[in-house]
């Protein structure tokens, strides 16, 4: 999954992935779309391919690239889990802080609950 994150953390590669979600594309189309030279595009595609994010097939003279959803799905699972867990944690923390805040401005009994160590 780090390989996926790393591959996507480069803007041109993210653009390529976003471009490919509309469907498979030959290298030439990506060169035009990204306004990069072909060797650069090919280098990015190699990285994406190595990370398992794209597949290539050869059609006559052209190399056609297509997205592979598996690593992105894996990333989504992780990301959604991460976000949801922390959102839940922080909402509980909000509630706890509210109690602590109230306790700090009130007499001892409540204060003890929040301050005890």
């Amino acid at each position: 999954m780090l390989a996926t994150l790393k591959a996507l953390a480069e803007p041109h590669r993210l653009h390529i992935v976003e471009f490919l979600r509309d469907g498979p594309q030959p290298v030439g189309a990506m060169v035009r779309r990204l306004r990069l030279r072909q060797p650069q595009v090919s280098k990015h595609l190699r990285v994406l391919s190595h990370a398992g994010l794209v597949d290539v097939r050869v059609d006559a003279q052209r190399r056609i690239y297509a997205l592979r959803p598996a690593p992105l799905q894996e990333l989504e699972v992780w990301l959604e889990r991460y976000r949801r867990i922390w959102e839940g944690n922080f909402q509980r923390l909000d509630a706890l802080l509210e109690q602590m805040n109230a306790a700090e401005h009130k007499p001892k009994e409540k204060k003890r609950a929040a301050k005890s160590r």
Binding site: L5, Q73, E80, G88, N89, Q91, D94, L96, S116
Partner: protein, 172 residues
């Protein structure tokens, strides 16, 4: 929930995850809630139904912590680490390693707190090991400081029609 205290998640570099969240409380209280075991175990629980039967924190440089969570189906998940920096009430840094790791190696977690007008902004940075990221083809000099918002990634993922996982996170 409300619009000001939403959780922001970003990836400022290829090894970091950064979460930012504002809390309606002064910094010393947030620091306590983040570092005192009897308080931590009240909120750092993860998905619904999970509890934290073990929460031990020795908050000093070189001191260790141990967390263990238990899920509704009895599954357990543990993590441990050592504090590298402790500067109450503004920051603490600790290593993190899960018993049954779902990411390679050890991460370094930094909690930084800034108070403004009685509210506290927590910036939680998780720096992952780069071992896996360094291998193979990816030896080319990395593009540094590339920011990517998870929002954008999520849009991308949504548009790809990646399956929604309803039941996640019940394993370790």
């Amino acid at each position: 929930m409300n619009n000001t205290n939403t959780l922001k998640v970003t990836t400022p570099s290829d090894r970091e995850i950064v979460m930012t969240r504002v809390f309606d409380a002064p910094r010393h209280l947030v620091f306590e809630a983040l570092s005192k075991p009897e308080l931590v175990k009240q909120w750092l629980l993860g998905p619904p139904g999970w509890t934290m039967p073990v929460c031990e924190v020795d908050l000093r440089v070189g001191g260790a912590y141990r967390f263990l969570w238990r899920g509704p189906d009895g599954a357990e998940m543990g993590s441990r680490g050592v504090f590298r920096e402790v500067v109450p009430p503004e920051r603490f840094v600790a290593t993190e390693r899960f018993d049954d790791p779902w990411y390679p190696g050890e991460a370094v977690v930094t909690n930084a707190l800034i108070e403004k007008n009685g509210k506290t902004t927590l910036t939680l940075t998780v720096l992952y090991e780069s071992r896996e990221a360094r291998d193979g083809v990816l030896k080319t000099p990395m593009d540094k400081g590339v920011g990517m918002s998870y929002d954008r990634l999520e849009q991308l993922l949504a548009s790809l029609g990646a399956p929604q996982l309803k039941k996640e996170a019940s394993e370790s």
